[in-house]
Symmetry: C2
Subunit: 628 residues, 2 copies
Amino acid sequence: MLRWSIATVSMGGTLEAKLAAVARAGFRAVEIFENDLTFFSGKPRDVRARAEDLGLEIIGLQPMRDFEGMPEPLRSRNFDRAERKFDLMEELGTRFLGMCSSTSEDAAPDVERAAADLADLADRAAQRGFRLGYEALAWGRYVKDWMQAYELVCLADRPNLGVVLDSFHICVNKNPLAPLADIPASRIGLVQLSDAPGILMDPMSLSRHHRCFPGQGDHPVAEFLDAVMKTGYNGPVSLEAFNDQFRGAPAAQIARDGMRALQIAGETLDRTRVEQGLPALHIGADLPSASRIRGIEFVEFASASSGPDSFVDLLQGLGFVRVARHRSKDVDLYRQNGLNIVVNREQEGFAYSFQLLHGTSMCALGLRFDNPEAALERANALGAPTYFGRIGPGEALIPAVAGIENSLIYFMGERDGPRSNWDRDFVFETQEANGLLTTFDHFSNVLRRSEFLSWMTFYKSVLGLVNDPQVEVADPYGAFYSRVIRSPDGSVRIPLNIADGGSTAVSRFIDAFGGSGVQHIALETGDLFTFVEQAVARGVKFLDIPDNYYDDLSSRFDIEPALLARMRALDILYDRNKTGEFFQIYTATFENRFFFEVVERRGYDLFGAANTPVRLAAQVAEQERAGM
Amino acid sequence: MLRWSIATVSMGGTLEAKLAAVARAGFRAVEIFENDLTFFSGKPRDVRARAEDLGLEIIGLQPMRDFEGMPEPLRSRNFDRAERKFDLMEELGTRFLGMCSSTSEDAAPDVERAAADLADLADRAAQRGFRLGYEALAWGRYVKDWMQAYELVCLADRPNLGVVLDSFHICVNKNPLAPLADIPASRIGLVQLSDAPGILMDPMSLSRHHRCFPGQGDHPVAEFLDAVMKTGYNGPVSLEAFNDQFRGAPAAQIARDGMRALQIAGETLDRTRVEQGLPALHIGADLPSASRIRGIEFVEFASASSGPDSFVDLLQGLGFVRVARHRSKDVDLYRQNGLNIVVNREQEGFAYSFQLLHGTSMCALGLRFDNPEAALERANALGAPTYFGRIGPGEALIPAVAGIENSLIYFMGERDGPRSNWDRDFVFETQEANGLLTTFDHFSNVLRRSEFLSWMTFYKSVLGLVNDPQVEVADPYGAFYSRVIRSPDGSVRIPLNIADGGSTAVSRFIDAFGGSGVQHIALETGDLFTFVEQAVARGVKFLDIPDNYYDDLSSRFDIEPALLARMRALDILYDRNKTGEFFQIYTATFENRFFFEVVERRGYDLFGAANTPVRLAAQVAEQERAGM
């Protein structure tokens, strides 16, 4: 039966904790990596009992290394070694042993001999009812490639010996994937899945430290799975990711991420198959189908700030108008054209707690979906439970799921739909809220490196967003990485900025904010220059940009002197690419944590990353002036 | 004049702070990276004034990118851009502009045209008294290699245009180095130095994130410098290291490390030249010559522990005998054969402070040198000032330099020499201190990743140690890196273990210890089995090793069953390689931080890294049992 599995090596901690996490994430099958047993203080039969209690099938033990093609006396010793692994398998209650191609300098480059060794071992395994799988390591001494491993399996020709198809080794070798579909299913021992970032690194280092789950990297895992499933293979499909970050994270989180990654991989596979006229395979439970994001209904800020220079002063300076107050709570609605910002200054409840932890900060996001009920059902099926929140008392509860640092993401319908009456308990003072800002352009999430892949999988699976390639950004005190996640319609765009410790600005935000969070919101306008002039007149302070930036700009681009002078006077930054021009400005940082960006796009569809270093340096200077 | 320089891009922080750090480290010359100016809030002439105040010559501005071979109108714009850089140079007071080969898709693959562009720009530069240097980036669009850059420079044939020889691009391309010696010095614009780890990674990523200082990586920098200096080049030699860790560290530390790295590079260069019958060049001040380390005189522990299970109980359990007490202080001398361990339980002074910060810990190391005065003079010349300590009052002061976390490294002479009478104020109770332990085998230093290169340069320059290649070690919660540093005679060996954040055992040591430190000391014996039996009888608790380890061991090695059973009974670990066998055991962890290892070497010269994962897993289990 086709089923999802995960190898214990993909997680950190003790073997007992790994098994519990795997079961809780919804897996029914697990591969045991032998080191986990070696370090386990109990007996292998204790592992078997624990797995049975948890409803987990142990689908295999791995790996047997450096077996084939060895000279005597190493060859005989290898058979003895295998017998001891068979004993261990008996105790574990598993029937499958994973082997990988030899990396030993003692191995002979003799195909016939290697195949004979595999055949002999398969015969011994058969006597005990065991099956063997043989996998090509990309850095194997002679067998580096699935075709070579498959050739040995065919030469050995034993019914209980199959090739292990591991997506990592096949994709890292850039093997064509379509030929995999021609392998007879009976010759496949096991299918293993992982992804990896598209960086140039020797395959062994990449494999040992940077493997990740499908959809978290750049390998064509979907295409691999599609090809392999055309063979009619009907056994376990097992995640195997060696990753230092995974091993440093809680096993429960990694197991859940793995299951989410597999669920969307299975969904993609079945969609592709149906498009090709093939039957869906339904590996694991089917997901409720995705609902499209249609836009942002509102953004909610928790704030304790009041008086002059308060957060609402900043909002008003940016042209937002307080259009309504909540009937009974200290909750106001600010609006500008179609943009709603709720400011919650209640002294109890969710927003209050959030603000205690993080200061003035974005604590919730209301997203409009085509079908919010279906979107929520899907989120639940992906292991994201429903929380209910309400903007004010007496309101209908709005369902939400937890986003970064337990901020809330509300699932709402189209305006005027049943779940979109969140503002009915507001007393409107005006409906006039025009201004120059028209769109929420993007929200930057600042994340710890150890959380990045986890949230990427969350956004891609639970919210159905898609990702751009990763870029790196220089920082006055180091460097950080950034990857943009966006909804297919482009209405929600989230650059994920990844802090790698040290004293980069991104890391310092995490320290100041007390964790991950939204560091800034970018708003779009059709006329940035007029907007800035009005905002300055209303008292908004923008980030000081050094004069030298404009001198440098003038040497990089041909810009009208008058325009350049205006940018210099207003502290507006500039970028240009083949599609168009981009103007952007940043407010001074609020509470040393949060800022707004305002952008004007003239056909430009990126985020001005070229200006991030100057923005960061200016923010460092701002902090130093403030004596931070 | 030949002189050392450093590029501002090698450090983090503001430009003002970088210049101050560079001057303090003893540099008299600096290269300005243009981004530092762009982010600087003052005027370029303020930078000039600051540099002059600090006695720093600004040897150049860099880089001018994407200049040569561009079509119109980009070509004309590039000349305008260059004129603006010339204006900037005028304000900065520098005469040299560094250019790098174009990476632009718009550039034409036309050698004549590129050379003509360089010639034209050199002519314009000449009018203002400027010189140009042209450097091949390894990822340049057409010019990727110093030979191509040199060809363009020869074709352009202008007296104020030279090739920039950057060791990184040349070494990363694996160019032969000897041909560099044939370049006429007049064609060399600038020499730049950096090192890089020998990892397989695309050259641009390696360059942007992992460059380091000479001797910190694996590039043949000494050979490069030797070849280049044979040209008769007589200008600045400038460090240029792009490194996230450097930019995250204090600029003063990085500038000092850079100067140390250059000082030993210059020393190596001159030694090589003298061996070749060439005159020494004396770039920078000459270092006093190195003195050889002859061994370890004593190790000092600071401890507040007393009563049963105290640290001295552990020492006595390991066979150390209290041979002497200090005349007036709470300081005891424990001895076993030639091994001296001083235990300092004073309630004031250096050891007391150290113990407050770190708990029971090794606070000092007494090293014997051939010529301790010369060794100290050299340390001072390398920016490591002398501290004076004394083991007890009335003692001669013993000079020391600061090691990790300000532990002390005493510089002592041969036994019975003038600086080795540190024990004369001890009242000896016995001279009988025999036992099975014979040697300090090694000391493990646990370091934050951001400190690793800095301490490597310290050990190599100040103490004259040499390094082994880097290895990686799996950890139950991640992975860490390790590199062994040793004295040329092998008497001092220090594995540097590098924590990369997260929850690895190495990182947790840093948290528990309150910083970097010596996590364990390994002692050697000729008979580990008898030693362990005696120690157990004296009450020493050793780390529990899981039974499964021995099952696994028996499948990996052919070991006599009786020997295996004895190892299993005593918790002794085992390794074997082509040179011999290795037995090792760890004590239970003291105060959740420190432990001893005892090893028996039968022709084996490594450190049993294959057993480190099982040791770490066993220590995690030990912590969990203790409820940590």
